[in-house]
């Protein structure tokens, strides 16, 4: 491998890749478990494959400025495809792999996709379906040939064939690849990530090499990440978090990215790899803890007692020890003992023994949940960011962890709060533009270069940012008091029995809520009480379950009662929905955020009943199965009242 030329600084991703391949050719870059064995690509091998892939694309006519769609689970070769497109001055456009063909249409159209590199038959089928009405999709390149042998659609090629065509092209034009890489500019768009589409059609967020490299460098320095770190990549590649952690930081810090064998084996793979740096949305931490509690409840009584005793110690002093605060020597001793008997083995079971830094973001995390992980010695922290800011705005510094804040402004980021409470951000990591949407770009970035996040937040006295809600979601009750639905929904979701919640109250006299119970947790709770149920609908309609949820709602009301203006947002009435909210039915976005307006329309009769004083409402709902067929379910949904408390004034300090 030739040395990257001195004048070209490593300021684009392909040049970073070449730099690592030159400096540490044999160090592991990517790993994937295949046929039960972890396979490793060294940096040199990675660079060579990227070169072949890029040359193959060039031979097919992929040129500067073209967009390359990348669809599939986290696979080393798909990560290489990002670098291959970028080497030629193209833009990588990762798409959510579980989206159905119809949902993909918008992105395929919007990004003028002519080339796509996809994982397998499933994605090929979707693209072929899309191509019937979108003939501009010329080349579909697939990694896994299974089931595709009999396909003979024009432009359909295997990645294997692309690479050998690339090798031949490279031989004939030996200078081409290096020239193309040298032509790249740090300010070129490197990747286009689509917003989740909580509001309207998804928009393509154009981010330059510079933006993501700046964000990655900031994070790498902040948490002192090094080349020997390991991460496990299992979150969708189309999500900004994965792009930052598994691509940008991977190329900046030069650590190893590990890809799980399949989506179902993530837990096993996590244990085998033992990552040192870990990133997951709160729901992953939540489901881990839920399965842990369920297993603990089934454990023998000695184990249960040991667990309870040591968890008490951990709760008392665990996070203080992690934060480096003063703790009595008795507690230190007990904690050390607990580490031997409980926390250590527990972390090992969770695959978290080697974690130095873990982050969570994407949604609010419950304080109990957050405290649990920190108390057993896992350095779990929160960050704040969005697709438009490379997921890099605020980070919690080590030792300064507050449960209800997202930390301080990250290095190189300016954060300020607008008069209406909206969080404004300025820095190199702010998006270049929305693709083909100058109107939206102008709306989001003001003349001073501040990006309007759309989140409402406040700074506390230590300079930590606290996010309350989406700025546009913050509404007002008809009495004029502030109503922050997300804030209340998050409080509800912190209960393990509640999976999703949707609150309504804007321009109304009081707040009502739709609840989705968590089938695993409530199912287990019901089994323990010998409550017989046949499935979700049946369980959701049980009086005992309604009482259980009512208890949770009233606890939330009690909390709200002590929060000043929010005291009026206490929930008056609620119901348990007869079906689970699902992205396939457009009720949630692909990143599982509730689409409140859509839900209000779809379940209009239920909402009406909540505000009319009825106690039961019949409803029939269309559902879409995973295979695309539709059916309908109907149920009589019970509506319950919750007790509201008078507002409590906090004792004046």
């Amino acid at each position: 491998m030739s040395a990257p030329s001195a004048k070209a600084a490593a300021d684009t991703f392909p040049r970073l890749l070449l730099k690592h391949a030159y400096e540490r050719p044999d160090a592991p870059a990517l790993r994937e478990k295949y046929l039960g064995i972890w396979q490793t690509w060294s940096w040199a091998e990675t660079a060579a494959e990227v070169r072949a892939m890029a040359s193959g694309l060039a031979a097919l006519g992929f040129k500067r400025g073209d967009n390359l769609a990348i669809i599939g689970d986290n696979r080393p070769r798909l990560y290489m495809a990002f670098a291959a497109a970028q080497s030629l001055g193209g833009v990588a456009v990762p798409m959510y792999q579980d989206a159905v063909a119809v949902e993909m249409m918008h992105v395929l159209d919007d990004a003028d996709i002519r080339f796509a590199i996809v994982e397998d038959q499933e994605q090929v089928d979707k693209l072929l379906e899309a191509r019937e009405s979108r003939p501009q999709i010329e080349h579909i390149i697939f990694e896994d040939p299974r089931g595709l042998r009999s396909y003979n659609a024009p432009g359909l090629t295997s990645l294997e064939a692309l690479r050998s065509a690339g090798a031949a092209f490279d031989k004939a034009n030996p200078q081409r690849y290096d020239q193309e890489v040298a032509l790249g500019n740090a300010t070129d768009v490197s990747v286009m990530l689509y917003t989740s589409g909580t509001t309207g059609k998804p928009k393509g967020v154009c981010q330059s090499h510079q933006a993501f490299i700046t964000a990655a460098q900031g994070g790498v320095q902040f948490d002192k990440l090094v080349a020997t770190d390991n991460v496990l990549s299992y979150l969708p590649m189309a999500w900004v978090g994965d792009h930052l952690f598994s691509y940008a930081q991977f190329l900046v810090a030069g650590f190893t990215v590990n890809c799980p064998e399949s989506a179902e084996t993530v837990m096993t793979d996590l244990r085998e790899i033992g990552p040192t740096y870990y990133f997951a949305p709160p729901r992953v931490f939540e489901s881990l803890l839920t399965s842990l509690s369920i297993r603990m409840e089934d454990a023998s009584s000695i184990k249960q007692r040991l667990y309870n005793a040591f968890m008490k110690v951990a709760q008392r002093c665990g996070s203080d020890i992690l934060n480096g605060q003063a703790v009595s020597s008795k507690d230190r001793l007990l904690y050390a003992l607990g580490n031997v008997f409980l926390y250590g083995p527990l972390k090992n079971t969770l695959g978290m023994s080697r974690i130095r830094v873990a982050y969570t973001a994407g949604a609010a995390i419950g304080p109990d949940l957050f405290r649990f992980y920190r108390s057993i010695g896992i350095n779990l922290k929160q960050l704040y960011g969005s697709t438009e800011t490379c997921a890099y705005v605020c980070l919690q510094p080590d030792g300064e962890i507050k449960f209800d804040s997202v930390g301080k402004a990250a290095p190189g980021v300016e954060v300020k709060i607008a008069d209406n409470g909206e969080v404004l951000v300025r820095g190199a990591m702010v998006l270049k533009e929305y693709y083909k949407r100058p109107d939206a770009t102008a709306e989001s970035i003001d003349s001073a270069g501040y990006f309007h996040t759309g989140d409402a937040g406040v700074f506390d006295s230590d300079g930590h940012l606290k996010i309350i809600d989406r700025a546009k979601d913050v509404g007002h009750l008809s009495s004029g008091e502030m109503f922050a639905p997300n804030y209340i929904e998050n409080k509800l979701k912190f209960f393990s029995h509640i999976k999703e919640a949707v609150c309504f109250g804007h321009d109304r006299d009081h707040v009502v809520a739709f609840i989705n119970i968590d089938l695993t947790a409530v199912g287990n709770w019901a089994e323990r009480r010998n409550i017989v149920y046949s499935g979700y609908i049946d369980l959701a309609g049980k009086d005992e379950v309604v009482a259980l949820i009512k208890d949770c709602v009233e606890k939330v009301n009690a909390e709200l009662a002590s929060e000043g203006e929010l005291a009026s947002s206490q929930i008056e009435r609620f119901l348990i929905l007869h079906k689970e909210l699902d992205p396939d039915d457009d009720e949630l976005t692909r990143t599982r955020k509730v689409r409140r307006g859509f839900i209000a329309e779809k379940y209009e009769p239920l909402l009406g009943a909540l505000y009319s004083g009825k106690t039961v409402q019949h409803i029939e709902t269309q559902v879409k199965f995973e295979d695309g067929r539709t059916g309908s379910i109907s149920a009589d949904v019970k509506i319950a009242d919750a007790k509201r408390l008078p507002a409590v004034r906090k004792a004046a300090a």
Binding site: G36, S262, E264
Partner: protein, 261 residues
């Protein structure tokens, strides 16, 4: 469907088979053939003799009359071990796995015939035994990947849901690298999603390895979708034989299935 797959010559021919258990006539004068690489379905109402037919092909039962020609070799009598050596593997209507063993070990048992090393060699795991185990494990891992069983690789079979157990059984049959696969109701008792998965696996097996497949199935939708030709049995007699469309329009079949007069 299956445009690229080449259906070859007849590899199994069943002539005038009759099978009786005492006075009960399970099969009467059945004849049909199976071509290389095709998916051949045997359908019929309960008690029509479908499983008996499969058991005759695979050597569990010896018919009183008739002959079977497999790869040009005519026979009436064959034991199950010979059937396996001749490249016939099967799954069962009622799952027959080793429930205490892991998925991996269960599939490994399918490689039994490929192991040539002696007991002593295996006990000390040296030489041939070691080499063979590595080879066989690789083959088994390919099948695990093929049937997407990675997440349960080390799970004891007893702890698995029904649909997955069925898949493990298919995996074990595939581990023997059969040229002909006999599937006894591979989709019985499954939900829609599991059935679809199983259909895909059966088609993929046929497509990828060129395995000839003879399957018994109740779900008419599935049969009509995936099979190339269908034999219909009723009360031990053959009442129809042909492509799914031909069979669907056959008045005798309609009568047997719908009871219409």
């Amino acid at each position: 469907m299956n445009g690229a797959r080449k259906i070859g010559d007849v590899i199994l021919k069943v002539d005038n088979i009759s099978l009786r258990f005492g006075g009960v006539k399970a099969l009467t004068d059945i004849s049909f053939d199976v071509r290389e690489h095709e998916i051949r379905a045997i359908i019929g109402p309960n008690g029509a003799g479908k499983s008996s037919m499969l058991n005759v092909i695979n050597g569990v039962y010896t018919p009183q009359e008739g002959s079977i020609t497999f790869h040009g070799e005519q026979r009436r009598d064959m034991n199950t071990h010979q059937a396996a050596e001749n490249g016939i593997a099967r799954t069962f209507q009622n799952i027959a796995l080793f429930t205490g063993m892991t998925v991996l070990d269960n599939i490994m048992t399918g490689r039994n015939l490929k192991i040539k090393s002696t007991f002593i060699e295996q006990a000390f795991w040296f030489g041939r035994a070691r080499r063979e185990e590595i080879e066989n494990r690789k083959k088994v891992e390919e099948i695990i990947d093929f049937l997407q069983l990675q997440s349960v690789r080390k799970t004891p079979v007893a702890r698995l849901p029904y649909g997955i157990k069925k898949r493990v059984e298919l995996a074990r049959a595939l581990a023997a690298e059969p040229t002909m696969l006999l599937l006894d109701e591979p989709m019985a008792g499954m939900n829609v999603e599991e059935k679809q998965d199983m259909c895909r696996f059966v088609l993929d097996t046929n497509d990828q390895f060129g395995t000839t497949i003879v399957l018994i199935e109740h779900d008419m939708g599935v049969v009509m979708d995936i099979s190339d030709r269908v034999v219909v049995l009723d009360y031990g007699k053959k009442i129809g034989d042909g492509t799914p469309t031909e069979v669907r329009n056959n008045p005798d079949v309609i009568k047997a299935y719908l009871g219409a007069h």
